[in-house]
Each structure stands twice: as structure tokens, then as C-alpha cells.
């Protein structure tokens, strides 16, 4: 895997988590700007998904097994959009908490992806 991309996704996810956590702290729901942030993080995760598939297609293999790698790639791509949809119909601070939690989950998934791919 591209280490730079993994780090970028993880860092962006943590930033999104902090941002939405701050919104929740100020008792605010997610707003347009937050959704743009979610879109950016999701695009990064999509780039990672494509990169991962391309690398698999080129014959490179993750250290801890291909099935697990693909499952985590898919999970990483879906984490923030899924949380975003939940926050769309929850127009309170709890919608912001949900997105923050989703972004933290994504950051954890990135660490796992890094381990699964190996060096």
C-alpha cells in the first residue's frame, strides 16, 4: 500500500473527527461545510480503495491475507459516508458525535490496513 495515502486518510479522518467533535461540543448539528469535509475524506478513502485494488491486480499481496485486506478497504471507504447519512436525519449535536465517531473508526481501520498490508 501507499504509506503516504494511508497516513493522509488517517490524518484527514482525525481532523474531521476533531472538527465534528468541536461542533458537538458547541451543540451544533453537522452543516454544509462538514459535509464537504466528509466528501474530501471519502474521496481520499476512495483513492485508497482504487490504489489497493490496482496493487492487488498487479500481483502484489498483503501480508495477512487478501480477503481481510479487501474487507478492511471496503469498510474504510464506507465508514464516513455511512456516518454522514446517519447525521443527515439527526439534526442535533448527536449527528455531529456520530460523524466524529465514524471518522475515529476510519482512523483505526487505517492503522489495521497498514498492519495487514505489511511492509
Amino acid at each position: 500500500m501507499l504509506d503516504a495515502l494511508t497516513i493522509a486518510v488517517a490524518a484527514a479522518a482525525l481532523a474531521l473527527a476533531a472538527w465534528c467533535g468541536y461542533a458537538a461540543y458547541r451543540d451544533q448539528p453537522t452543516k454544509d461545510w462538514h459535509f464537504i469535509g466528509m466528501a474530501v475524506v471519502s474521496l481520499l478513502a476512495l483513492a485508497q480503495l482504487v490504489t489497493g485494488i490496482v496493487q492487488l491486480a498487479r500481483g502484489e499481496r498483503p501480508e495477512q491475507g487478501m480477503t481481510i485486506f479487501i474487507a478492511y478497504l471496503a469498510g474504510a471507504f464506507l465508514a464516513v459516508p455511512a456516518a454522514g447519512f446517519l447525521s443527515l436525519s439527526e439534526r442535533t449535536r448527536w449527528g455531529s458525535v456520530t460523524v466524529a465517531a465514524g471518522a475515529v473508526v476510519l482512523a483505526v481501520l487505517e492503522v489495521r490496513l497498514y498492519d495487514i498490508w505489511g511492509s
Binding site: A71, A82, E90, T92, W94, V97, T98, A101, G102
Partner: protein
Amino acid sequence: MTDTDTTQATAGDEKRPFDLGTGPGRVLVWFYGVFTVAAASRSIVQMILDFDRAPLAYVLSAVAAVVYGFITYSLVRGGERARRTALVCCAAELVGVLVVGTWTLVEPSAFADATVWSYCGRDYLFIPVILPVTGMMWLRRARTA
């Protein structure tokens, strides 16, 4: 994340007493959804790839996935019956994670492979222990709301 659950829900949420999936419940829906997917995909992959290696551990993961899935469904559905069954499931989940957790601590060789509940969910940031407790707190509050 879940430690903020104890703060007051906004007044608007209190009007519909049987909505379990809104307000703080929305965060629980998210976490239970994630754990349903995590436990289910984990057990399915392991069962297909190598069931004989640790049948007990894989069946336990599958059971955990079913319990998580059912709680997620109950939270989304809402209503008094869903609230009660979810409460029972949360209790079962807590018992499960504590029993399996203690078992793996006392005798690490008991399971040939890890489950979501091994070592009280250590591999999952201890969320498997925290989740049923916050879940039961929320479900009890939801009744009085």
C-alpha cells in the same frame, strides 16, 4: 465518544418517547451497526476459510454478530417491545463479553483463535464492554423520557 452520552438530550427529542434511534441513540445505532458488520464479516470469512481451526471461537463471533444485529434493528425500529428486547440483548451481550473475556484471561488456550469478545474486547479498544453498558443506560432513560 460514548462518555458524552450522559449529557442531556435536547428537549425536542423528548416528545416522541419511543424513538430509540434519535439523539444519543443515533450514536449507538452507528456503533452497533459497525460492530454488526465487523463481527459478521469476521465470522463469515473465518468460517469459510478455516472452520476447523477454532470452531467455538468462530461460532461465538457469529452469535455476537446476531446479537449486535438484533440490537441495531431494535434501536432503529423503536417502541416499547423493541426497547425491552434490546435491553435483554444488551444484558446478554454484557454477560457474553464478561464470560468470554474472563475465560480468555484465565485460560488463554481455551480458544484457538480470537473472537470479538476475547480479553473483554481488547482488540476492539474495549468498545465491546463499554457498548452494552451505555446501551442499557440509554434504553432505561428512553423509557422515562
